[in-house]
Symmetry: C2
Subunit: 273 residues, 2 copies
């Protein structure tokens, strides 16, 4: 079994999961992260459950070779499709971004109407709906797939009238159905929070699953005595970043998001795992 | 060696190549097509040359098991990155969409200023620029990556003020540089031709590489005596469609694009090839 000094494996289909890694770094700064982004096969949003579960198993096999003490699926689609199957197959704790976000949304809604915006895969899986129904069967969960949001974020169009217009269309139905809570169910979406806030107004609360996931991870490590007692600066290594393609492009993006110009990224042939 | 009765392998990263398959069916209706769409790893547009060349080799290995007489790379990114390497490795003719489109554009331009719109991968490869320079070194080729066009097409936003606005931004610089010819360098883009035409006006000619590729394939088969002499209806099998994921979703889309509600699609584990 790994000890408290072991790193945490965090993985995503690409760069989006860096927002989750950043939250973990901020909330539990002693923890060392091994990040994997599947940039050769990104995006996962419109692929099947079987394919995504297979990809998830390959990534977990790679991260297990890095002797991690816990895993975080920093991708809503993988969390939605694969977590229930893969958690039976491994001996260390695994947390996905779906359940923490769902729990907080269910606790916060007053009128029991929650909206979820995410990729087609996450919405199609019905995972948020099922999980929230398990907590409180009286909550109505309305899902809306927003396939243009990720490419808009990747084009850097975060504050743009075109993005406003597309967001207005995507959110129209949810607003007409009077939601009071909106889960940003894709790791790219918190970067659109100012745009979303402008459209949904003050009465709707935005839930950021990245934040809630880091909080839950901290609690879980604390409850099991697995929080790393040592300052990261005193550990033998820092965070490590791996991708399946375009390591340099990833490195530039990650360096900006994490405000760490010195980070390095290595390429892994993930299909071998 | 395969004979004239053998099928033609046509492949793409996903559904986009169906526009090329459709042109082939229309221009040389006797030819039987074996189509492969890599829906598990789509899109290719922002992946590296090494990764894309590897994917291309796997797809070719699969299509060779189907005893094809010729191959058509119905994907600009694969044509741009991989064709020069893979054509040395196989014994049957292979045509990509880049060269036919480039040849026609070079022949048509009057003021020697050609614009190319495509994915980041195709533009970044500089393939259109290099190939046109080989034909006529005085032609100025201006490339512009348009990463939002594919998701807009996949959202069905073909005739929409948002798409107009995004197209206007993407084309602004090319129009200021006074192009008279515009290559639609991604198989999705011909579906946006009416929008593009509205913005570039009558003075700019649009080049559709799918059309030119089918024309060149027909010529090549004719010149080598390899045109199929038999009516497709009299052959033992019809067209066949294979994908790496989501066969049902692909089937619905293909049935619509090709106006053939009866077509079937099978899933192939492409990573095994």
């Amino acid at each position: 079994m790994p000890d408290a000094g072991a790193p945490i494996g965090v993985f995503d289909s690409g760069v989006g999961g860096l927002t989750v890694a950043k939250e973990i770094m901020s909330q539990i700064p002693n923890e060392r992260i091994i990040y994997f982004g599947d940039t050769a096969r990104v995006p996962y949003g419109s692929k099947s459950k079987t394919t995504i579960t297979g990809f998830t198993r390959q990534i977990i096999r790679f991260l297990m070779t890095q002797k991690v003490k816990a895993l975080v699926i920093a991708c809503n689609t993988m969390s939605a499709y694969a977590i229930d199957e893969v958690e039976k197959e491994i001996s260390i704790p695994i947390i996905g971004v779906v359940k923490p976000g769902a729990r907080v949304a269910a606790a916060q809604t007053k009128n029991k109407r929650i909206g979820v915006i995410a990729t087609e895969g996450t919405i199609g899986s019905g995972m948020y709906q099922r999980f929230i129904a398990n907590i409180d069967k009286d909550v109505l969960v309305l899902g809306k797939a927003c396939p243009l949001f990720c490419p808009l974020v990747e084009e850097g169009m975060l504050d743009d009238p075109v993005t406003d217009e597309i967001a207005r269309r995507y959110l129209k139905e949810l607003m007409e159905k009077d939601i009071d809570t909106l889960i940003m169910g894709c790791t790219h979406y918190p970067l659109l929070a100012p745009t979303l806030k402008k459209i949904v107004g003050e009465k709707v609360r935005l839930v950021n699953p990245a934040y809630e996931t880091a909080r839950e991870l901290k609690e879980m490590l604390s409850d099991t005595g697995m929080l790393n007692p040592d300052d990261l600066a005193k550990q033998s290594k820092g965070h490590e970043f791996y991708v399946s393609d375009l390591a340099d492009k990833f490195r530039l993006f990650a360096a900006k998001i994490l405000d760490d110009p010195g980070l390095t990224t290595d390429k892994v042939d993930i299909e071998k795992y």
